[in-house]
């Protein structure tokens, strides 16, 4: 394992400290692994979080126009309720707090428990659950779809609505509307290494890619021979388009890197995806290419489409000064 770390047990705290050090606009609560906005304002508070290893998620999305607090768990593990409660308290400015949760059993159980406990202290709390990963069939029986890169759009749009003075109900509504209109699909070409484990969880043969791998390195739905960029774009985009009808609509497009894939390749993938969307009469309103929701050093990428209407467009285009999402 080659990583720039000290003790594998300390990666999360040292990472957050390193994040906090270059960043005068945030406060870091080391005991709780919480990063929150310094500037307070009477508005709905937004809290997101989850396991670490997905940087810049979630701390990088704390800022004006996005999140008020980010709560970090251990690598790939949801934070416990005590941390989340701290995040809720820091985000609370008296107008209630919205939790943006990714659909993993661990996240949901911890955030729900935190919500219950924080409500006892008279904070008004609502939550939404992001489930954008079309690799997984949607299901009401099992946990259902995971939340992946599309979550960043939910942060952005709910954040803009809150910044604009929306009520908790309104912010929740637009967050849910965003979730209903997001679809993502990813692929991976190489594994990541948990600092504490020290070796890759799996190996992929030289010519194999894994479709639909989770952002925690959970195995994907299919291993196939690696195609060229055009083929990869086709597989990812078609899977999304099969799941939801985007034809004729305006979208926000995110081509997200998983951490180990260079920007050059993400741009090449963006080129192919954009060509497909053009050919299907899907208008790209805005494009985001970069590492937004990663899995440590995993190589690979995901594609996210968000169907826009006038309100979502306006909210997406509103300014944000979060360190890792400038608009």
């Amino acid at each position: 394992m080659k990583k720039i770390i000290n003790n594998p047990n300390d990666v999360v705290s040292e990472m957050l400290e390193g994040f906090a050090r270059g960043n005068p606009k945030i406060i870091y609560f080391p005991e709780f692994a919480v990063i929150s906005r310094k500037e307070k304002k009477r508005k709905v508070g937004l809290v997101s979080g989850g396991g670490s290893g997905h940087e810049p998620a979630h701390a990088g999305y704390v800022g004006k126009g996005m999140l008020d607090a980010a709560v970090a768990g251990n690598v790939f593990s949801s934070p416990g309720p005590d941390r989340i409660i701290k995040g809720i308290k820091e985000a609370n400015n008296g107008e209630g707090v919205l939790l943006i949760i990714k659909n993993y059993a661990g996240d949901i159980m911890n955030f729900e428990l935190a919500k219950e406990l924080a409500e006892m202290e008279d904070v008004q709390i609502e939550y939404v659950i992001v489930k954008d990963d079309v690799a997984v069939p949607d299901s009401t029986y099992s946990t259902g779809r995971r939340g992946i890169a599309g979550t960043v759009f939910v942060h952005k749009i709910a954040g803009a609505k809150a910044e604009a003075g929306g009520t908790l109900e309104e912010v929740k509504k637009v967050a849910q509307q965003t979730i209903d209109n997001i679809r993502s699909m990813g692929m991976s070409m190489s594994p990541c290494i948990l600092p504490n484990v020290g070796k890759p969880a799996f190996e992929l043969a030289e010519n194999i890619m894994e479709i639909g791998m989770g952002i925690h390195g959970e195995p994907g739905v299919e291993k196939t021979e690696i195609g060229n960029a055009s083929k990869i774009a086709e597989v990812l985009t078609n899977r999304i388009l099969e799941d939801m009808d985007f034809i004729g609509s305006e979208v926000a497009l995110m081509v997200n890197g998983l951490g180990g894939t260079p920007l050059m390749e993400l741009y090449i993938l963006n080129n192919e995806v954009s060509k497909i969307l053009d050919s299907k009469n899907i208008k790209i309103h805005r494009t985001f290419v970069g590492n937004y929701m990663t899995s440590l050093e995993m190589s690979g990428a995901s594609v996210t489409l968000l169907k826009l209407n006038d309100e979502l467009k306006e909210l997406l285009d509103a300014p944000s000064d979060a360190p890792s999402f400038h608009v």
Binding site: N9, G51, G73, N74, V75, F76, S77, S78, P79, G80, P81, D82, R83, Y104, A105, G106, I108, M109, N110, L113, D133, A135, V136, S139, Y141, S142, T143, R146, L194, N196, V197, A201, F202, G214, H216, G217, E218, P219, V221, E222
Partner: protein
């Protein structure tokens, strides 16, 4: 003469269990990597080591407070699914320990039952969903049926341990409904659920420890 487990004894059990988990890192990690995110062993190992480091403090608490403290610690230190599930179940268990000085065989049964209920309620899980519950659930059933059958304490403990172990192994054939394996196309069929393995280890270790105290 039945076993009587004090807080201090329980902390000894935690020490013993921590060593068992520690030893089996490769296997448990591989199980979670096969269908999940590969962190289950790290999670359990970190949590138990943390408890071991608190042994002084824990062994001086009342049974109820110790159980609660264990629960809060696991929730906070481990995080993830395992943290909140174990954490919540220990907090539930602390309630049935109210006013008790030691865990005897009957209280052990109540504790396991309280844990089982809490885990089932936490995320609406049932046996057969391919989770840790598939070790805990049959262990509680074994306790009940063994009791009804009038088994001797050591036999009963052995039966519980065996039920947990068999329950865990039976997860291999199950389709996952909860936990990360449910994202798989094959729902993890063919793979044992890692959480059921650590649950079976912890139950087995607890039965061993109680058996030792039975002498």
């Amino acid at each position: 003469m039945g076993f009587k487990m004090s807080s201090a004894d329980y902390v000894d059990y935690i020490n013993y269990a921590a060593k068992i988990i520690e030893k089996d890192g490769e296997y448990i990690t591989a199980l979670d990597a096969a269908t999940g995110d590969g962190d289950h062993w790290i999670n359990m190992d970190t949590g138990l080591k943390k408890l071991v480091s608190m042994e002084k403090e824990l062994s001086q608490l009342s049974l109820q407070d110790m159980m609660k403290k264990i629960g809060m610690t696991m929730m906070s230190v481990i995080g993830g699914s395992a943290g909140v599930l174990y954490g919540g179940s220990y907090i539930a268990a602390s309630k049935v320990c109210a006013g008790k000085d030691v865990i005897d065989c009957d209280l052990l049964g109540e504790i396991l039952e309280a844990m089982r209920l809490d885990i089932m309620n936490r995320n609406k899980s049932e046996p057969g969903f391919k989770t840790m519950l598939d070790a805990l659930y049959p262990a509680v059933e074994a306790f009940k049926s063994g009791k009804d059958a009038g088994l001797e304490e050591k036999e009963l403990l052995a039966l519980i341990k065996q039920a947990a172990d068999e329950g865990s192994k039976s997860t291999a054939a199950m389709e996952a409904v909860r936990g990360r394996a449910c994202y798989q196309a094959d729902k993890g069929v063919g793979h044992i659920d890692p959480g059921s393995v650590t649950m079976a280890y912890l139950i087995g270790a607890l039965c061993d420890w109680a058996t030792k105290l039975s002498n």
